[in-house]
Symmetry: C2
Amino acid sequence: MEQQIIDQTLTRIRAALEAGQVEEAIAALSALHPADRAEAYTELDDDHQAEVLPRLDVESTAELLEELEDEEAVEAAAILPPERLADVLDEMEPDDAADVLGDLSPEQAATVIAQMDDEQKEDVVPLLAYEDDTAGGLMTPDVPHLRRQWTCQQAIDHLRQLHPDTETPYYLYVIDRNGKLIGIVGLRDLIIADPSTTVEAVMNRKVISVPVGTDQEEVARLFTKYGLLAVPVADAEGRFIGVIHNDDIVEVIEEEAAEDLYRLSNVADSDLQVFSPVKMSIQRRLPWLLVNLGTAFLAASVVSLFETTIAQLAVLAVFQSIVAGQGGNAGTQTLAMMVRGLAVGEIEFRDAWRAMAREAGIGIIHGAIVGMCVAIGAYLWKGIPMLGVVIGLAMVGNMIAAGIAGTLVPLTLKALKLDPALASAVMVTTVTDCVGFGLFLGLATLFLPYLK
Amino acid sequence: MEQQIIDQTLTRIRAALEAGQVEEAIAALSALHPADRAEAYTELDDDHQAEVLPRLDVESTAELLEELEDEEAVEAAAILPPERLADVLDEMEPDDAADVLGDLSPEQAATVIAQMDDEQKEDVVPLLAYEDDTAGGLMTPDVPHLRRQWTCQQAIDHLRQLHPDTETPYYLYVIDRNGKLIGIVGLRDLIIADPSTTVEAVMNRKVISVPVGTDQEEVARLFTKYGLLAVPVADAEGRFIGVIHNDDIVEVIEEEAAEDLYRLSNVADSDLQVFSPVKMSIQRRLPWLLVNLGTAFLAASVVSLFETTIAQLAVLAVFQSIVAGQGGNAGTQTLAMMVRGLAVGEIEFRDAWRAMAREAGIGIIHGAIVGMCVAIGAYLWKGIPMLGVVIGLAMVGNMIAAGIAGTLVPLTLKALKLDPALASAVMVTTVTDCVGFGLFLGLATLFLPYLK
């Protein structure tokens, strides 16, 4: 339904722009929910974007930039004159404004910051120091906080006085005189409490907070595990400096999951999309194809050791890929479970040997069953009984190799503080290709007299 | 840090149980945050679980069951006598209680339900009718709501009177006399407003709600897109019947992302883990290995067509896998981007031809570069110039096939209302294997005189 509305609005906007009625186009775009507005804006071609954006009002533009993907937001920011962009950034959530500024060139950023509102500048500039993918890069600094000695009535009055644009989270944070977080209070607890009770009496002292440098993946894990709506962030001295909200973390969870999927599929970056620029697409994909090519030559060199055998019995070339390929598939299965298990904290280093033994054991069972099927298939097809035996044995061996490589490769990467998904598919399939070709063709060479 | 605490607690619990001091074990377990408690409980062996669980107090047990994975919660429920389980379910969130009941046998469930508290029964029983993976299966029915003609003061008084265990969400829902949802109010808006204003005057009429049968993936998409904290659920008549909270949806997002990862890696179910029972592991993985085996025989039969050529020139067997494998890798890259793009709604059917043309075009570029590298490598290694030409041409052709299959396979599955990730990896690599072997060996047969 929302897609229909977006499509209809796009038709109206395009028609209006072709007819020179920019005001009508802008009215149509502004009427959409900010998330839909961002989607529609992205679909417009460059000329239409350049025509519409500078005439959209400041608040709608701010909402639009908050919703756009990072690169798109920067492109949009480039369309706006610096003073206009400064006004727009003043209206944005500080964390989103910092993301836009962080992606501009340092000179551009400086020009725009100089023209921003002082209060917003104070919130936004410190955020520029934090990496995008850490707690600091995700947090909103502009969070109302309470003092423990206040009464609940005073706390409520304080909330009433805040600028209406301030986002009031479901949790309120209580700090001591040194700025340290000492408790949290739900809005409802404040309402329900006797107005003269102190905040200290109703607050919950068990607060989960994260240091400002925490990696976003770890923040996401805490959110998921403890079912949080928001998590407070502390600086090196333990002072309360901001809050990460659920909506920012949902994006992170999706990003991290996409990253695992992409890396296991040999795509370098999770921000790559089918319609990304061709140059970017090739930059992110070609290097992995070339790495794979190197390992493919390695596997080919194993086959090359047995060229004389193959020259005597060409049917081996028909079956070599089955043994290698099945090992690769089994290895990929193990890898997917390991990468996932490591990401959500289900698997720890102390489980390493147990996991490996288990996957190797499952490899024996899979190898025996799959090997039996191939053996029967090969015999029925080619009529050589011994060929079935050789394939079956090689299959069992390669499935064991798949289980071992599928567990050890991601664990080793993790131990080296690298992403367990990074390049692990290449490494595992290299192992299963080499072992598969080597075992099958090696056994075939041994038993050659019985195969002809 | 949390892992340390869990490990220390586990050591204490085990020591206490061995020494027969069950009370001490229970005290240690109860002191943990419910999420950590669930993690520790899962680590205990069956005897220890059976010893501890029946003596844990009702509230701690309820928290534990809410945090456990579905299968673990059912196992835990089986340890408890029916009347105890009924007490525990009374304390749980209705959606979690329904999940546990739904996994019991119908007789067991009936026995337990009969002993539950009437009020909780009323909330929980209707939930049993909904599928786990729909909006109905995710929602909490027990949500306070307001009437439009109330004043803000009346609304606040109403919230004060609610049972303190009732979860008060950040949003409050306003319904009309027919139970239809007509607006939402933030808690803060209620506090800030003049106490005599009506709820109608402060409520927001633009409410995003979902029908009770909506698939959880669609619900998750709405949450992410619109940055929601909660979404109301409506029945077939449009009546407000519950709310889905953010913490339930975060789990769904992780589940759906894991599902894509698993399916692209040929594992049937995303609930499979490295330490799942061996029988379950084989049931979920072996069928895919056997499907792959069928397609591997298909690819092998393509190789078999050229056995006479290979018998004359065994070096072809060395290179055939490089051409097929590189195509498979490129196809997997395209597939990962397509599956992701379809999941988050970046790619629509109308983009099909554009996406295919684009990926085929990138395939030509990748094929030309990778083909050139292989051609040079093959010439340097084996000293046959024409071999390089044949490999290079086959590589370009197979990369184009990879781009086309990588886009069309997931789009076709989606058009058939199937999961685009389901079995698509098998299908794409079957195409690239067959095309790769066929093109390379076919061209080699054509140019055989120049290769020897």
